[in-house]
């Protein structure tokens, strides 16, 4: 059974890859034909300006509106970025064809071999986002990964698709430090698992604690370290774990406004990635640390900074924070103006968080 599941998954992955390559070819052909006809090539890039980012209640995420800007090679001020975008498409095409991966920084340097210069990495990062918007695909699809890596641990068998490892399987509980969610893991097929849920946790320290305390076994969980704001590959993996393996996702973050938003991004995406759709887990649940937990569990706190408070006001304008615990917790944070980190539970012993807090929360999550 697992075999056929795997085949099907592999087939989906291949299809997806071919679709991307077709898309790149299509874009390339369009530019090629324009040039061949003596026309200045151009293409439209969905506008990522704030005014074009709207919240889609149905999709429960931010999406881009219909506004698009025309990027033309005729326009002198766009010629350079047009060329950069073409180069990136060309580069991505090679990466996908050759099944190689690259990083944001890598892209920045690779460009220099083609006389396409980027002023700095932010400029090349920006062009990568442009290409994502044009293709409506995350950069990970065309094998470009950020530097930051998050990790995963638990009973999950995967099958690699990267060159040299095709067909090779690994169980993600084999190594006690966990596995980096890198290009090969991101592109691997999810074969089998005995886990019943996924716990995404904001901090590496607690991730290690959870492994040591055998949370994976005790709660039949796959543990994911988001390492702060979850990278897209991690969010994509969470989505696949939820959709393909039918696992519920719970999220544990620090008890502050940033933690709350980390959970929200996993659940419904970020405005920055409004041009991408397959990165959200709308059913994911944020289980703590809530503002209300601070008092309830008598956690030691730190006073909020001005920027914390400003962030609360900002988020209160976000349509996703208009209801439920998202709204109430923000209000409490604003009221108490204090925050607590996940490590705060250590005041009551190192295993307090896994022995007391986690079970309560997991229990509670079932009823939400």
């Amino acid at each position: 059974m697992s075999k056929s599941k795997s085949n099907k998954a592999a087939k989906v992955a291949t299809e997806k890859r071919d679709m991307l390559l077709d898309l790149l070819k299509l874009q390339g052909a369009q530019v090629y034909n324009d040039l061949d006809k003596g026309k200045f090539p151009q293409f439209s890039v969905p506008s990522r300006s704030v005014s074009n980012i709207v919240y889609d209640k149905k999709l429960r995420q931010y999406i881009l509106g219909n506004a698009a800007s025309l990027r033309s090679s005729r326009n002198m001020s766009q010629l350079r970025s047009f060329t950069q975008l073409m180069w990136l498409a060309f580069f991505a095409n090679r990466l996908v064809h050759e099944k190689k991966s690259s990083t944001l920084r890598d892209v920045y340097y690779s460009s220099q071999a083609f006389e396409v210069e980027f002023e700095d990495q932010p400029e090349s990062d920006n062009i990568i986002v442009d290409l994502e918007a044009v293709l409506a695909r995350p950069r990970e699809d065309f094998h470009i990964f950020p530097e930051e890596r998050s990790s995963i641990f638990g009973d999950l068998t995967i099958e690699y698709t990267v060159p040299g490892y095709e067909g090779k399987r690994t169980n993600l509980s084999n190594h006690p430090d966990g596995y980096l969610i890198g290009p090969s893991l991101s592109s691997a097929e999810l074969v089998d698992t005995s886990a019943e849920l996924v716990i995404a946790i904001e901090k590496g320290g607690l991730f290690t604690r959870f492994i040591e305390e055998k949370v994976d076994k005790k709660f039949k969980a796959i543990i994911v370290d988001t390492a702060g704001q979850a990278p897209r590959a991690t969010r994509y993996l969470l989505k696949r774990l939820h959709e393909q393996m039918k696992l519920p996702v719970v999220i544990l973050t620090d008890g502050d406004v940033y933690g709350e938003h980390i959970a929200m991004v996993i659940k419904s995406g970020s405005a920055n990635a409004a041009h991408l759709r397959e990165l959200t887990v709308p059913d994911a649940k944020w289980m703590g640390v809530w503002a209300s937990d601070i008092d309830k569990f008598k956690l030691p706190t730190i006073p909020m900074t001005e920027s914390d408070i400003k962030r609360i006001y900002d988020l209160q304008k976000d349509p996703r924070y208009q209801e439920g615990i998202w709204k109430t917790e923000l209000e409490i944070f604003l009221k108490i103006k204090r925050k607590a980190e996940l490590e705060a539970f250590s005041k009551y012993g190192l295993t307090n968080i896994t022995d007391k807090y986690l079970p309560q929360k997991l229990e509670l999550s079932k009823s939400l």
């Binding site: 790149l24 070819k25 874009q27 390339g28 052909a29 530019v31 090629y32 034909n33 040039l35 061949d36 003596g38 026309k39 200045f40 090539p41 090679s73 005729r74 002198m76 010629l79 350079r80 047009f82 060329t83 073409m86 180069w87 498409a89 060309f90 095409n93 090679r94 083609f114 006389e115 396409v116």
Partner: protein, 612 residues
């Protein structure tokens, strides 16, 4: 009691003692000044005769091995009209011999400088000056001579004649100089002189064996300046005195030639008569006598003298106001004054001759732009009788006349026909040849005047081309002479520095050259060095207006240039990026052959037009 001794000194000696004033203070300055004097004399000579000048300057060290300062041979050769053989000794061998005493624009003032250079050369090296001249293009007169400084007299050492086929003058002197220090100044001078004299060919062979050659750029000479009468605002008491003196008939000099002339006209060359006889003969022949002879006869009648007696006196003064005649008697060695009875018919003759013109006639005849009506109005203004003969003016009246001439405001502005600006076209061509600029504009203001002296300002501005970026360069000229130094307080630089160049889109490092040429019968120099022009209000205004006009033109060009540069940049960008786009799209589209993107680049020109 000690007695103070008064010695008369000759002009040569005076100038030698005051050579600093003339620019011969040290070997560096002297070499430079000598070059200027000879080159400018050559140019002036050609200008006056309407000859396109060819000036060749050579400086050679007598002994190249010696350290500076050391003797140099300086030679300047021109293709001018040359100088009559018999004038050469006086012109080059005496100080204060010159022909430039008229009122018109010329480079040098009186031609003193060349003699000063010769004098300086002789003092420092004890070598003679060599002057070769041909006025007919056939015979060349060559003089070698020295100056007798005490006597202000030339001493001719050698005079030879040769055949030649070229007109012109060649002057060569040996003088102590310091070329290592003066060199850059001299080279600048030659360069800038060529710039403002585009109708001349100027070459310079320097002592180090370098040759500088500035070929003629235009073949038309600017119209030569004409000699004109002075403007009433531009004269002082002393000038008026001099004008009056040469207006009326001068007190005759009683020399042998004059006496011979009188005798001849009376038919007494071989016959001697007594006083009465002479008077009788004169009365008989009166109508046929020339004016000077009549004057002498009148004087003889008052003095009761025959030819023998009158040969022994010198006339000192004929004072018509007091009807007195004063003479110096060589025999008695004393001054004698006699009264002139008004009743004598000879008195009237003398009076009319000596008193000269009436004030009105004097004004209309001797000044520019004064007509009968103006002269009469002025007489009323000055409270002087219009019909009064100027020879009878007292000192007080002369001062009154001079003051009133300055104060009277209804005279017409000075006549600029005595000025010789270069002209817009020659200036444009000269600048164009020198700087090969991307932008060039020239402008000549119409004539204006300050204190009775007419002047004209012409300017040019050039941008880019061969002009190196850096500080803006201002070339200043006055009467076609480059002003090289002491620029600090010069009126042109003042105006340039006060200009807000940002307004004209000129940045600090912009390659800009400004040429300014002020022409006037009298340039108001600030210092003796004659290197900077004083900021007279009228001159400053003209310069400002000229510069504003040019700057606006430059600004318009700079805006256009800005656009053009953007276009160029654009074209370059397309050339850079389109091939890359073609390369990437070829691989993306899975094609083997690159698209024919060159068509797009070919269409670039159309795009530019379209987007402008």
């Amino acid at each position: 009691m000690s007695k103070e001794v008064f010695n008369q000194i000759s002009p040569s000696e005076f100038f030698y003692r005051n050579r600093d004033l003339a620019g011969f203070s040290n070997p560096t300055r002297s070499l430079y000044t000598a070059v200027r004097e000879f080159v400018e004399n050559g140019l002036d000579a050609c200008d006056q005769q309407g000859i396109l000048p060819d000036i060749h300057l050579y400086i050679k060290a007598v002994d190249p091995e010696k350290p500076d300062p050391k003797p140099y041979v300086l030679t300047v050769k021109d293709n001018g009209p040359g100088m009559d053989s018999n004038q050469i000794p006086l012109a080059f061998g005496t100080v204060l011999y010159g022909s430039k005493f008229g009122l018109k624009q010329a480079r040098g003032m009186f031609g003193l400088g060349a003699t000063m250079a010769i004098l300086y050369g002789q003092i420092t090296t004890n070598k003679p000056v060599t002057v070769s001249s041909s006025v007919d293009g056939k015979t060349l007169h060559k003089y070698e001579m020295m100056l007798d400084i005490q006597k202000n007299k030339p001493v001719i050492m050698k005079h030879t004649k040769e055949e030649t086929n070229k007109k012109g003058l060649n002057v060569s002197i040996t003088l102590d100089g310091d070329y290592s220090k003066a060199g850059s100044k001299i080279r600048d001078y030659v360069y800038q002189t060529s710039l403002i004299t585009p109708y001349a060919t100027i070459t310079f062979d320097d002592p180090k064996g370098e040759k500088f050659q500035y070929k003629r750029i235009v073949d038309t000479m600017p119209p030569a300046p004409t000699i004109i009468r002075p403007h009433p605002h531009g004269v002082d008491v002393e000038t008026i005195r001099r004008m009056i003196a040469d207006t009326h008939y001068q007190v005759p000099v009683l020399d042998n030639a004059m006496i011979d002339k009188v005798k001849k006209e009376l038919g007494l060359s071989k016959k001697s008569l007594n006083f009465e006889g002479i008077m009788a003969r004169a009365e008989k022949k009166w109508s046929s006598l020339s004016r000077p002879v009549r004057v002498i006869v009148s004087v003889m009648s008052f003095l009761n003298m025959d030819f023998d007696k009158i040969m022994k006196i010198r006339l000192e003064d004929i004072d018509l106001v007091h009807k007195r005649l004063t003479y110096y008697d060589f025999g008695d060695s004393k001054l004698v004054t006699v009264d002139m009875p008004k009743s004598s018919s000879y008195y009237k003759q003398l009076a009319n001759t000596v008193q000269g013109d009436s004030l009105v006639t004097f004004l209309t005849k001797r000044f520019q732009r004064i007509g009968q009506a103006t002269a009469i109005k002025f007489s009323e203004f000055a409270n002087l009788k219009a019909e009064k003969r100027i020879g009878s003016f007292t000192n007080e009246e002369l001062v009154q006349l001079s003051d009133s001439l300055q104060k009277y405001e209804d005279f017409l502005t000075p006549d600029p026909s005595c000025l010789a600006p270069l002209g817009e076209e020659p200036l444009r061509k000269g600048m164009s040849q020198f700087f090969k600029p991307d932008f060039l504009e020239v402008y000549q203001r119409s004539a204006s005047a300050y204190s009775g002296f007419p002047f004209v300002v012409e300017m040019g501005i050039a941008y880019g081309g061969n002009i190196p970026p850096g500080k803006m360069t201002v070339y200043r000229f006055a009467n076609r002479i480059p002003l090289l130094y002491d620029e600090g307080s010069d009126v042109v630089l003042k105006v340039v520095n006060e200009t807000d160049w940002n307004r004209y889109k000129v940045k600090n490092e912009s390659p800009v050259v400004i040429v300014s040429h002020i022409c006037s019968t009298r340039i108001p120099y600030k210092t003796v060095g004659k290197e900077n022009v004083a900021d007279r209000e009228e001159i400053e205004k003209e310069i400002r207006l000229a510069l504003q006009y040019l700057s606006r033109k430059l600004a318009a060009y700079m805006s256009k240039r800005g656009l053009a540069e953007i276009e160029k940049k654009r074209a370059n960008l397309y050339l850079k990026y389109l091939p890359l786009i073609a390369q990437f799209s070829t691989e993306l589209a899975g094609k083997n052959k690159e698209p024919d993107y060159k068509k797009v680049i070919k269409d670039l020109n159309n795009v530019q037009v379209e987007e402008q």
